[in-house]
Symmetry: C2
Subunit: 200 residues, 2 copies
Amino acid sequence: MMVEQDGDLTDKCAQVRKRCSSTTREAILDSAMRRFARHGFECSGVREIAADAGVTAALVNRYFGSKEGLFAAVIERAFDVGDLLECDPAELARRLAVHIVRSRENRQGDKPTPLLLLLRTAAEPGAVNLLRQNLDRNFVGKLAARLEGPDTQHRAAMVAALMTGFATLDQSLKCSAIEEDDRQRLIEKMTGYLDQWIRG
Amino acid sequence: MMVEQDGDLTDKCAQVRKRCSSTTREAILDSAMRRFARHGFECSGVREIAADAGVTAALVNRYFGSKEGLFAAVIERAFDVGDLLECDPAELARRLAVHIVRSRENRQGDKPTPLLLLLRTAAEPGAVNLLRQNLDRNFVGKLAARLEGPDTQHRAAMVAALMTGFATLDQSLKCSAIEEDDRQRLIEKMTGYLDQWIRG
DNA sequence: ACAGGAAGTCAACGAGCGTTTACTTCGTGA
DNA sequence: TCACGAAGTAAACGCTCGTTGACTTCCTGT
């Protein structure tokens, strides 16, 4: 019941890839990222993840100990926002808006699914604790540190809330009112919304 | 692994409840609502749901055909926002803010879990289509109809996005920056945020 | 009071899951 | 070159899940 047909997510290099643990590890992390972001933790089977990476399920457990261990590794990598927040505060809102809106374009692309998609797993008992810690530490905390004025923690949390909610409605629920907008218009609007909290 | 201990959700009336299909149906819907909202669709077992309602799993399928049928019935009931939106537009923002913030208080209470918690299931393949339709029809659509000015659909969607994101961070991820605020302060802030979109 | 039908139970099924063990295949340093 | 350890596979285990069909229990209209 309710099967969702995926495209061919199989790593094209898998057929010719040499035996190399680090490369394979990365391939597994990539396909796990895509699966978890698309279907959540519970709905992603290790067999599917492994198949996407061109290996078998047994190898996933060999490298990551368990499915939960794999998820932890994915989260750790995904919440590394890199230099996303490192810019002029005046540019921050636009940068975040581009980041969250642009992700719509990657829906069928082969690029790794963006950070916010991982919030799809926010309901799942095994995932929520890992997510919470990483969100606090790697996003809200870092963003708050770059804000000025009062209530930086709270404002940063609200930025995360808006981004989360937007991503949910846009990418998961595919809310029609959002879907009808074009990309540039969405970026403009989101920039304005986010800026209100960033400025304070 | 990762078992989450629930309180005793069992319907206390179950032991003495007379045999009555409609009453039992409602009891099943109630416990299903709580389970789905807390753990999502895939992580909620029909055996647990049935046990909470004081019956067996077989009866759930008897009444609702399947687990998916049960979910559809829950969604249908949950997205009936009733008269939530029917008020002076100037009061709308506060009303929605109270609705979404107040739900924190019910976390361990015995009241039915509020509407927005259902968005926890937004990642699950079998749930997302049902959710999308009901969200568009019963919330965004109705809210947009009550707004004035341009872009009513889009602004209504943004209200839903903020509420969704806030609910996710607050009730699912339990983001610390939000959790530290007290209830009244949160309501004030959310009212302001929501009002910006409602006014246009 | 009692038959009949509705309400509810019980036990088992088949499928899918994560995981493990024993095995095979490959890359590479001496 | 070739043996040895790393990389990867195959198959099965135990468990849980949703679902089903035959069964029992209770309420109710006559």
